[in-house]
C-alpha cells in the first residue's frame, strides 16, 4: 500500500507540470480562441459578446474568399510538386549510386534554411537589376518574368519555393519508405521479368502508400497555413493578390485591429485543416482494413 503512495508522490509533479504546460500553452489558448469568435471589439478596449456576427461577416467577406482561393491555388501547386519532386529525390537517395551520402546532405540543405533566409535568398536571385536567376532568364531565354509583380505568377512562385525548400526533408521520408521495402520482393519481381518502371509503379509505390499519405497530409496542411514566405516576399502584394488565409488572419490580428475576427478565421481554417486530415486518416483506415 505504501509503495503506490510513494509512486504517486513521485509521479504527481511530473503529471502536474505536464498538465500545467499543456493547459497554459494549448488548452487555454485553444478554448479562448473559440470564445473570442463570439465577441467583438479589442482585447485592450474590451470585448463584448455578439453571438454569431463574426461568422456571418466571414461568409460575406470577399477578401477572405479571395485569400482562400489563393491558398487553394498555392496548395494545388505546392502539394503535387512537392510530392513528385520529394518522391523522386527519395527514390534517388534510396538507390545505391556512388557518393549518395554527399547527395543526401546537399539535397537536405534547403530544409535546414529558415523560411526568412529562404525568402531573402530568392529575393536576391530574382532581383530585376542584379538577380542571377532573373538575368539568366532574360539573357539566355529572353524571358522577362514578373516574379512578384503579377499576382498569379507570384503565388505560383511562392508555391515552387515552398516545394523546393521542403523536398529535402520529404525526400528523406520517402527514402526511408523505399528502404523499408523488403529486398526479396524486388528481387522476385526482377526474376519474373518486371521492368524498372513496373517495379516502381506496381511494387514500390503501392508499398509506400502510408508514407505517401503522411507526406500528402503534412504538405497539404502546411499549404493551408502558409504565412511566413508571404510575409518575407510579397506582404500580400501586388495589391491583395497573394493574400493567403493565414496572412489575412495575421493582418486582422495585428494590422486590422480585430483579434476576435482573426480568431474566427482561424477556427474556420482549423475546420478546413481538420476535414483534410480526417479525409486522409479515413482513407488510411480504409486501406488498412
Amino acid at each position: 500500500m505504501r509503495r503506490p503512495i510513494r509512486e504517486l508522490a513521485v509521479a504527481t509533479p511530473f503529471v502536474l507540470s505536464k498538465a500545467a504546460v499543456f493547459g497554459l500553452f494549448i488548452a487555454v489558448p485553444f478554448v479562448y480562441t473559440f470564445v473570442l469568435t463570439f465577441q467583438r471589439g479589442s482585447i485592450l478596449s474590451g470585448l463584448r459578446f455578439t453571438g454569431l456576427d463574426n461568422y456571418r461577416t466571414i461568409f460575406a467577406d470577399t477578401l477572405f474568399r479571395d485569400s482562400l482561393r489563393n491558398t487553394l491555388l498555392f496548395m494545388s501547386i505546392s502539394t503535387p510538386v512537392t510530392l513528385i519532386v520529394a518522391g523522386s529525390v527519395g527514390l534517388l537517395l534510396a538507390s545505391k549510386l556512388r557518393g549518395m551520402v554527399i547527395h543526401r546532405t546537399l539535397i537536405y540543405l534547403p530544409s535546414l534554411l529558415s523560411v526568412v533566409a529562404t525568402g531573402l535568398i530568392w529575393k536576391v536571385l530574382i532581383d530585376p537589376e542584379q538577380g542571377p536567376l532573373h538575368l539568366l532568364m532574360r539573357r539566355v531565354f529572353g524571358l522577362e518574368i514578373p516574379w512578384l509583380t503579377d499576382g498569379t505568377t507570384a503565388i505560383v512562385f511562392l508555391a515552387l519555393i515552398t516545394a523546393w525548400s521542403g523536398c529535402g526533408f520529404y525526400g528523406l521520408v520517402f527514402m526511408a519508405g523505399f528502404n523499408s521495402i523488403p529486398g526479396d520482393l524486388l528481387e522476385a519481381a526482377r526474376i519474373d521479368g518486371a521492368s524498372t518502371w513496373q517495379v516502381l509503379t506496381r511494387i514500390k509505390l503501392p508499398l509506400i502508400q502510408p508514407v505517401i499519405q503522411v507526406v500528402l497530409a503534412l504538405v497539404t496542411i502546411n499549404a493551408v497555413q502558409v504565412f511566413d514566405l508571404v510575409f518575407i516576399m510579397t506582404n500580400g502584394g501586388p495589391g491583395t493578390a497573394t493574400y493567403t488565409a493565414m496572412w489575412y488572419v495575421y493582418q486582422n490580428a495585428f494590422n486590422g485591429g480585430s483579434v476576435a475576427y482573426a480568431a474566427t478565421m482561424s477556427v474556420i481554417l482549423l475546420g478546413i485543416t481538420a476535414i483534410i486530415s480526417a479525409a486522409f486518416l479515413g482513407r488510411r483506415a480504409a486501406v488498412d482494413q
Binding site: 513521485v10 509533479p13 511530473f14 502536474l16 507540470s17 500545467a20 467583438r40 471589439g41 479589442s42 482585447i43 485592450l44 478596449s45 470585448l47 463584448r48 456576427d53 463574426n54 461577416t57 460575406a60 467577406d61 470577399t62 477578401l63 529575393k123 536576391v124 530574382i126 532581383d127 530585376p128 537589376e129 538577380g131 514578373p146 516574379w147 512578384l148 509583380t149 499576382g151 506582404n235 500580400g236 502584394g237 501586388p238 495589391g239 491583395t240 493578390a241 493574400y243 493582418q251 486582422n252 495585428f254 494590422n255 486590422g256 485591429g257 480585430s258 476576435a260 475576427y261
Partner: protein, 453 residues
C-alpha cells in the same frame, strides 16, 4: 554513454526521478511568480525603435541611461531597441499581458490603437501642470490631438515631428531631360514625369523610336509597396478634396468625384509609362534610392540620409511644394513620434522621471537631429547646420517649410491603411476596375469597422 546518463545510472533511477521532479516543480513554481526583480527594483524601462542607424541609436540610448542616472541619483533606467517589424506585436503582447515597458516611443497608428484603450497613463495624473505646459509649447494642434483621449486625457507627449514625404526632383535628371517646368498640380505631375522619362538613347517618352525596354530614367518613382506608399498616397485624396475614410470611420471616403479623381490621377501616372514599373526592385529598401540614384526623376521621399549622400555624391535635389489639387488644396502626411507612460507601470513616478528626461531639451534635440526629424516645439532659424553633407542641411531646412501642409490621417480603432493601399494597387496596376475595387474596399472597411466594435 553521455556524462549525464552515467551520472544518472550511478545514483539510482528512483532517486534521479525524484530529484528531477523536485527541480522541475521548483522551476515551474518559480516561473509562475511575479516579475519581482524588475518591479521591485523600480528600474524604469524604455522601449523604442531604430529610427537611425543601430549603432547610433544604441549610443543614444546609452546616453539616456547615463543621463537619467545623473539626473536621478540612486536610480537607473534600462532601454531596449525593438525592431520596427516586431514592435506592434511586442507592444500588443506586453500591454495585453499587463506587464508593459514603463515608457514607450509611439507613432500615430499605435496611438490610435492605444489612446482610448486605457493602457497608457494620463500625463495629467503623473506630471505637474507646468511641466506639461512647457512640453506642449508651440506643438501643432493636429499632432497633439492624436495624443488626447476622448475625455481630454493626455496619453502621450509629442516628441518629434517628421519631414514627411516631400515631392523631390533629381536636378541632374531634370537637366538631362531639358529642364521641363516644375509641376504645381497633380495633373501637371503626369506631364512632368513623361517629360522626364528618357530611354538609353536620349529619346523622351512619346517621341518616335522611344524604347520602353531600355529606359535610362523614369519620370516618377511608383513603388507598389504598402509600407512605402502609406507615406504619401493620402496626399492625393486630401488634395483632391476628400478623406479616404468616411467621417464616422465606418466606410470608405473616396467613393465620390474627388476620390475617384485622385485614383484616376494615380492610375494615369502608372499607365503613362513614366512611372517606374512595379517590379523594378524586389527589395523595398532599394526604392528609397530610386530618385536620388537617378533611376527616376521625381519621388515622394523622406529626407536625404547620410548614407544616401555618401552613396550619391553628385546627386542634387530640389524639394517642391506639394502639388495643388483641383480645388487648390495642398496637403501632405504629417508624422510625429510620442513618448508615453504605461498605465500599468510598476513604478509610475520613476517612469515619469524617465519620460521627463527623454523629453528634456538636450536629449530631445539630440534625438531630433539623430533621426533627421524636425523639432516638435519649432525652431528659431535653421535647425540643421552641421549634418555631414550640406545637401542634407538644405533638404531638412527646406522640408521644415513644408510642415505647414502636414495633415494627420484619421484616427480609427482599426488600421485599414495597408489593406486600402493593396486595393488601390489592385486598381492602379489594372487587376481590378475602379468600380470593383471601390465595391470590395467598401465591404471590407465596413467589416473591419464592425469587427473593431
Amino acid at each position: 554513454m553521455t556524462g549525464m546518463a552515467r551520472a544518472a545510472g550511478s545514483i539510482d533511477r528512483r532517486k534521479f526521478l525524484k530529484l528531477t521532479a523536485g527541480v522541475g516543480s521548483a522551476l515551474l513554481l518559480s516561473s509562475c511568480g511575479d516579475d519581482g526583480e524588475r518591479a521591485g527594483s523600480g528600474q524604469p524601462v524604455y522601449w523604442t525603435q531604430p529610427n537611425a542607424g543601430q549603432k547610433e541609436m544604441q549610443a543614444f540610448l546609452t546616453e539616456i541611461e547615463k543621463g537619467f542616472a545623473a539626473d536621478n541619483p540612486g536610480m537607473t533606467a534600462k532601454t531596449l531597441l525593438v525592431p520596427w517589424e516586431d514592435s506592434l506585436t511586442k507592444y500588443t503582447a506586453a500591454f495585453s499581458a499587463g506587464n508593459p515597458p514603463d515608457v514607450t516611443y509611439q507613432i500615430i497608428p499605435w496611438m490610435n490603437k492605444w489612446r482610448d484603450s486605457g493602457v497608457l497613463a494620463d500625463f495629467r495624473d503623473i506630471a505637474p501642470k507646468e511641466d506639461i505646459d512647457k512640453l506642449l509649447e508651440n506643438v501643432n494642434p493636429s499632432l497633439l490631438k492624436v495624443a488626447q483621449g476622448a475625455g481630454g486625457e493626455l496619453r502621450a507627449i509629442p516628441y518629434v515631428t517628421d519631414s514627411g514625404h516631400n515631392l523631390t526632383v533629381n536636378l541632374n535628371v531634370w537637366e538631362k531631360a531639358g529642364k521641363p517646368p516644375f509641376p504645381t498640380t497633380y495633373a501637371e505631375m503626369i506631364d512632368f514625369a513623361k517629360a522626364m522619362t528618357v530611354d538609353a538613347k536620349g529619346r523622351r517618352l512619346g517621341e518616335a523610336g522611344f524604347d520602353k525596354s531600355k529606359v535610362d530614367h523614369y519620370g516618377m518613382t511608383w513603388p507598389t509597396a504598402p509600407a512605402i506608399q502609406e507615406n504619401y498616397v493620402w496626399h492625393y485624396f486630401w488634395s483632391f478634396g476628400t478623406e479616404y475614410i468616411s467621417e464616422d470611420g465606418r466606410d470608405i471616403g473616396f467613393d465620390n468625384e474627388a476620390g475617384r479623381g485622385a485614383l484616376e490621377n494615380m492610375k494615369e501616372m502608372v499607365d503613362s509609362g513614366a512611372a517606374t514599373p512595379p517590379g523594378l526592385y524586389t527589395d523595398e529598401s532599394k526604392w528609397a534610392n530610386a530618385m536620388v540614384s537617378g533611376r527616376s526623376g521625381m519621388q515622394w521621399t523622406h529626407a536625404l540620409s547620410a548614407d544616401q549622400a555618401k552613396a550619391f555624391p553628385a546627386a542634387r535635389l530640389k524639394l517642391l511644394e506639394p502639388p495643388n489639387g483641383p480645388g487648390g488644396d495642398q496637403f501632405m502626411v504629417g508624422g510625429c513620434g510620442y513618448i508615453a507612460v504605461a498605465a500599468k507601470s510598476k513604478n509610475r513616478e520613476a517612469a515619469y522621471k524617465l519620460a521627463k528626461h527623454i523629453l528634456s531639451p538636450g536629449p530631445k534635440e539630440r534625438y531630433t537631429r539623430l533621426i533627421l526629424g524636425l523639432p516638435i516645439n519649432g525652431s528659431a532659424g535653421a535647425f540643421y547646420t552641421e549634418l555631414p553633407d550640406p545637401r542634407m542641411n538644405e533638404f531638412m531646412n527646406e522640408a521644415s517649410k513644408m510642415t505647414r501642409f502636414q495633415r494627420i490621417p484619421p484616427a480609427l480603432k482599426y488600421q485599414p491603411n495597408e489593406y486600402l493601399i493593396g486595393k488601390i494597387n489592385d486598381y492602379v496596376t489594372g487587376r481590378q476596375s475602379l468600380d470593383d475595387m471601390i465595391r470590395d474596399a467598401r465591404n471590407q472597411i465596413k467589416q473591419m469597422a464592425a469587427a473593431a466594435g
